[in-house]
């Protein structure tokens, strides 16, 4: 969970920095998605895309991702949704009413690629664990010695 903001309203967007789960992917990659549940209605028109997806694409997805457990739970008269559970315990829900099978395919793929960390506004677009070995910049790095000489000469010429 992102840090809760004191006095936050519904429109408050939490901010944070770029993170990854235990440097996932620098060596081997571990898919953080563990479980995905497709909840939809068997009869409603709004769930039609999910039913298409289950008939045409779901078996391919399950074969391509053996580490992900897939549940298909039809329930009468509910809003169609994808519920994804991640290794860190986070649960993300995507509502897919009135969406086509192709769109749902993209939603599922984006859930697979996610790390399970909360979506936040990024304060900086870059992050490093290993800062420069040359040391940080200071006002004196790459400063020409002639500037000091020029200042000394100017101070001598002051008409005080």
């Amino acid at each position: 969970m992102a840090n809760l903001i004191v006095g936050a309203t519904g429109r408050t967007v939490t901010s944070g920095f770029l993170k990854s789960v235990l440097q996932n992917g620098t060596g081997r990659y571990v898919c953080q998605l563990q479980r995905i549940t497709l909840k939809f209605c068997k009869a409603s028109g709004q769930s039609r895309g999910v039913r298409d997806y289950v008939e045409n694409h779901l078996l391919d997805f399950a074969a391509a991702n053996p580490g992900v457990v897939v549940y298909v739970t039809p329930k009468p008269e509910i809003h169609a949704r994808l519920v994804a559970e991640y290794l860190n315990g986070e649960v993300h829900t995507v509502f897919v009413d009135k969406k086509s099978a192709e769109e749902i395919k993209q939603h599922v793929q984006s859930l697979v690629w996610r790390s399970g960390l909360p979506l936040v506004r990024l304060r900086k677009t870059q992050h490093t664990e290993t800062p420069s070995i040359q040391g940080q910049w200071t006002p004196f790095t790459n400063r020409p010695a002639s500037s000091t000489v020029a200042l000394e000469e100017r101070l001598k010429r002051l008409k005080t």
Binding site: Q136, W137, S147, T148, L151, R154, L155
Partner: protein
Amino acid sequence: MASRVQQHWLTFSRMWLLCDARWQPAPELAKRICKYLEGRHKPVYHPLSDCGDHVVVINTKEVAFEKNQWEKKLYAVNTGYKNTMIAMSAKDFHRMDPTKVLEREVYSELPKNGQRKSLMTRLHLFADENIPDNIKENLVDIIPPVMEPPKRLDEFTEEEKASWPRLFIPPADYKPSD
């Protein structure tokens, strides 16, 4: 070798920069001074990190304006009485206090936010070249001038005057007619 924390202090240390306003155009000079006050000349600049420098400006009484701006440009002045804001020309304003014109120019050039007044406290204006010693000993670098001030005729040496290219050399008995 300094530790990483000490390096951080050095990165955000404030520099004291000298700037000569003699025969420099005031709006352009103010634009340049703002860059150094805000710290935009540094590669570590970020609007949220307070990394600006101190700027010491000398010779503000010799600052320049182009064309007829000394008469045309007006500054709003509060006289201290109710409903008595008056417009004063740059010429009169400069005559009142020779550091005020540059101060107003820099103030209007800085970003209009809460940082503006704290940035203005790091601007040190002096009408002539008399700088207090406690400020002079802090100086580290010079801000390059906007334009090189042209030389007056009496500032040229005799050699330079002699080697100056001439269209014709007048005879010894030449007298210009009135």
